[in-house]
């Protein structure tokens, strides 16, 4: 039955190459923890993606309650945390997931670095990976403000001041992020929300697609 369905679609869309890329390829021994336990270091990339998926899903559920304005932002988070069923778990997943994704990504970066996997022909994929790293840090920075509690406000204040101290473009970055030359308030919150929920995730998905397509093209780097 499934085979027939597959054939029906394949006849029209020629999906076999796509299917091969997603699922029907071989996993070499040197990256398979079933053969060498130390190969678990090759799992960090996949775990980073797994936690990223958790972040996207839990984030989608958070926006069902979150209100990005200075009057209601904190109240909506407080309500979600204390009144909504499983709200504490959804917010907890997003909160702890944010730290976890950074830890996993860091370990993944170190694995690629110390196995020398960024060398020819994989230079471009390394660059895309470092850009993903930057985007994830940006997501962490913008997401930290959104609960609009004390630590969020003052950490963001410091962060924006550091950005503003960069010569020439500093002031422009500050206005872009904060929405004002002096005030850190309603504008800042909506801008951080937009950056956190639309701009950076869009960039992230594009970069991840490039990352994965290049992995499939080039295969995993060989054994040392």
């Amino acid at each position: 039955m499934l085979n027939k369905l597959y054939d029906w679609i394949d006849e029209r869309l020629d999906i076999t190459p796509i299917w091969r890329d997603i699922a029907d390829h071989e996993v070499p021994e040197h990256v398979n923890p079933a053969h060498h336990f130390s190969a678990f270091v090759y799992c960090f990339g996949g775990l980073t993606f797994f936690v990223t998926v958790i972040q996207i899903l839990s984030g989608m559920f958070l926006t069902m309650y979150y209100t990005p304005d200075v009057v209601n932002a904190w109240k909506s988070v407080y309500y979600l945390q204390n009144e909504v069923g499983a709200g504490e778990i959804i917010r907890g997943m997003h909160h702890w997931g944010a730290s976890l994704v950074i830890v996993m990504m860091f370990l993944h970066t170190l694995r690629v670095f110390f196995t020398g996997s960024y060398k020819k022909p994989r230079e471009l994929n390394w660059i895309v990976g470092v850009l993903i790293f930057a985007v994830i840090l940006g997501l962490g920075f913008t997401g930290y403000l959104l609960p609009w509690d004390m630590k969020a406000l003052f950490a963001t204040k410091v962060g924006i001041e550091i950005a503003a101290s960069v010569p020439i473009i500093g002031e422009a970055i500050k206005i872009l992020l904060a929405g004002d030359t002096t005030i850190l308030g309603a504008q800042t919150l909506t801008r951080f929300f937009a950056i956190h929920v639309f701009f950076l995730p869009a960039a992230l998905l594009g970069l991840l697609a490039a990352h994965f397509i290049m992995i499939r093209r080039q295969g995993i780097s060989g054994p040392l």
């Binding site: 020819k120 660059i127 630590k151 003052f154 295969g219 054994p223």
Partner: protein, 255 residues
């Protein structure tokens, strides 16, 4: 052109297998050892590991609810700020003399810029064919130096932060503001209530009313007859005043 099932590819690439043509990258079968198909064996194992990971993760979220401090108050000038933990090393760097004040540009731009630039361009800085770490000592040394600097700076930042003060300053304080011009508050201040229950209704020798969810009748009764350590006859005003007081306190305690 041949399409669909039965199509031959080179290695796991999307390059079609045309005999005699040299292709890149090499087929995994050229590597020594036991290859395993991703689908379904390897995926099943990955799935199980993922499930265990997810359970551990959910246990963490339940055991440690994510923190939420009091609502942001831009007028608070005494708050000691702290970024999230993964930015602590950058934050700590800016506290050193050589990277702050007139040299702020070093801490805010030069050092992070060089570090990030070097990471981004690593494949072009480390161009040799060797992949083993011990065969390329310089890149590995620089990475280890950067890592130890990050660990040290994070450690310093954590050790120098007053965590007890941070917990105090972030506490969610009651947002149940009340109107001091309320006639009930006038009675409250005029009678002896304010001495024990505080001018902000915050409590003291007497209880704080915040969240007690009292009815006006309960308040009136306690005001006249006392409760536990509160002596009877604390209230000495008229019935009219008692009613105002009771309504005011009851409304506040239900906010």
């Amino acid at each position: 052109m041949h399409k669909g099932k039965g199509m031959k590819f080179v290695g796991d690439s999307r390059v079609q297998d045309k005999k005699g043509q040299k292709v890149y990258p090499p087929d995994y079968s050229a590597y020594p050892g036991k290859n395993e198909p991703f689908w379904p064996d390897f995926l099943l194992r990955e799935w199980m590991v993922g499930a265990v990971f997810l359970i551990g993760f959910l246990v963490l979220t339940v055991a440690h609810p994510s923190p939420l401090e009091g609502q942001a108050d831009p007028t608070n000038t005494g708050y000691i700020p702290l970024p999230d933990w993964y930015f602590l090393f950058l934050y700590q760097l800016l506290k050193y003399e050589f990277a702050s004040g007139p040299y702020n540009i070093i801490g805010a731009m030069v050092v992070p810029g060089i570090a990030f630039g070097a990471l981004l361009l690593a494949p072009f800085l480390d161009r040799g064919p060797e992949r083993r770490a011990y065969k390329r000592p310089l890149p590995v040394l620089f990475m280890l130096l950067a890592l130890s600097a990050m660990v040290y700076l994070t450690w310093e930042s954590v050790a120098n932060h007053d965590w007890a003060a941070a917990e105090r300053q972030g506490k969610i304080t009651s947002d149940t503001a009340f109107d001091k011009s309320d006639p009930g508050y006038e009675v409250y201040a005029k009678q002896s209530c304010i001495g024990c229950h505080g001018d902000q209704l915050q409590g003291g020798a007497g209880v704080a009313f915040d969240g007690l969810k009292l009815t006006p009748e309960q308040v009136a009764k306690v005001a006249k007859e006392g409760y536990k350590t509160m002596q009877p006859g604390a209230f000495k005003g008229s019935d009219e005043e008692l009613k105002k007081l009771a309504n005011f306190i009851a409304e506040y305690s239900n906010k």
